[in-house]
């Protein structure tokens, strides 16, 4: 149920990050989410897609690295892994 809020936090963070890279647009964001983070993966993907659709952010891919609580990992991660950027097209500028 709170996946919409999480998806919108992701987009806000991307927006902030993009200010550091003028002339670029984001093409993909990767998140690390732990099995005990209390986040439903499908629901987050759905919300993310819904928020991006028909906005200037589109197309923007979401990649989720699902983290199990093993090998010293806590399994409650809810963090960014990386962001992929492209030079913004002339038309978009």
């Amino acid at each position: 149920m709170h996946e919409m809020g999480i998806a919108s936090s992701v987009l806000e963070a991307i927006d902030q990050e993009l200010r550091r890279y003028p002339g670029h647009r984001a093409t993909k964001v990767a998140l690390r989410i732990g099995e005990f983070a209390g986040v439903d993966r499908e629901s987050l993907e759905f919300c993310f897609e819904a928020l991006v659709k028909n906005t200037e952010l589109e197309p923007l891919d979401l990649e989720i690295e699902w983290c199990l609580a093993k090998d010293g990992r806590r399994g409650d991660e809810l963090e960014f892994a990386y962001l992929e950027l492209d030079e913004a097209k002339e038309a978009a500028a």
């Binding site: 149920m1 709170h2 809020g5 999480i6 936090s9 992701v10 806000e12 963070a13 990050e17 890279y21 670029h24 093409t27 964001v29 998140l31 005990f36 983070a37 209390g38 986040v39 399994g75 409650d76 809810l78 963090e79 960014f80 892994a81 990386y82 962001l83 992929e84 950027l85 492209d86």
Partner: protein, 231 residues
């Protein structure tokens, strides 16, 4: 195409506010507890009985979260402590900003105990740090004893599990021992207290836990202040 690392948490804005709150509450030596449980688990009743039995000189306050209505705040106000309702208008959890905003002037006069009743939900509130000292998960015997296995997130993060409505045990199929085992499977060190708001069972133990936890916090704040003086 460039790939840039983003070393931040998704809810980092919430976490920053939570850390700020935690710092403020530490300076004031306020013990802050975040109560999380399903709708109907008995969070409000538990807080009512708790307020009723707190030592008279305790400076306590309650924030209670619901999607709609002031009902819980009205119930809780009868005990003479300051209570504020946070209505989230749809959000299924409290976040740190809501807590910070609703604390208002409470902290100016000092506070020993801040009780935060989260929105009834075992999943979403788990992700949001409210700057609390501990999460307390509330599980009633009218639910399934496998809840810790179905919703492990909150049981992994809770310091204490309060089993409520134990006066109903003779009438429901709930196996208390199995529920305890399940909770410990998820978090071996979780503390468990069984309570009934109707009979008052377990409240001596729960209030003793509360007093000891508050004392532990004051001692740790003092220890870190002393350490600062030495250095």
């Amino acid at each position: 195409m460039n790939r840039v690392a983003m070393e931040r948490k998704v809810l980092s804005e919430n976490d920053q506010i939570a850390e700020r709150l935690r710092g403020t509450l530490k300076d004031l030596r306020t013990l802050s507890l975040n109560f999380i449980g399903s709708p109907g688990a008995g969070k409000t009743a538990l807080l009512e009985r708790t307020l009723e039995r707190l030592p008279a000189d305790t400076r306590a306050a309650v924030l209670t979260g619901d999607i709609q209505t002031e009902n819980d705040a009205i119930r809780l106000r009868r005990y003479g402590y300051p209570v504020r309702q946070i209505t989230t208008s749809g959000a299924c959890h409290l976040d740190a900003r809501m807590v910070e905003t609703h604390l208002g002037d409470w902290l100016e006069s000092g506070l020993d105990l801040l009780l935060i009743e989260n929105v009834g939900n075992l999943v979403c509130p788990t992700s949001y740090d409210l700057g609390e000292d501990a999460k307390v998960v509330v599980l009633s015997v009218a639910e399934g004893e496998d809840k810790p296995l179905k919703y492990p997130g909150i049981f992994r993060k809770a310091e204490l599990m309060l089993m409520t409505k134990v006066d109903l045990l003779p009438y429901v199929p709930f196996q208390a021992e199995l529920a305890r085992e399940n909770a410990r499977k998820i978090r071996p060190e979780i503390e468990i207290i069984e309570t009934s708001c109707t009979s008052g069972a377990g409240f001596d133990q729960w209030l003793a836990w509360l007093a000891a936890r508050a004392e532990r916090k004051r001692a740790s704040v003092k220890a870190s202040a002393d350490a600062m003086l030495v250095t």
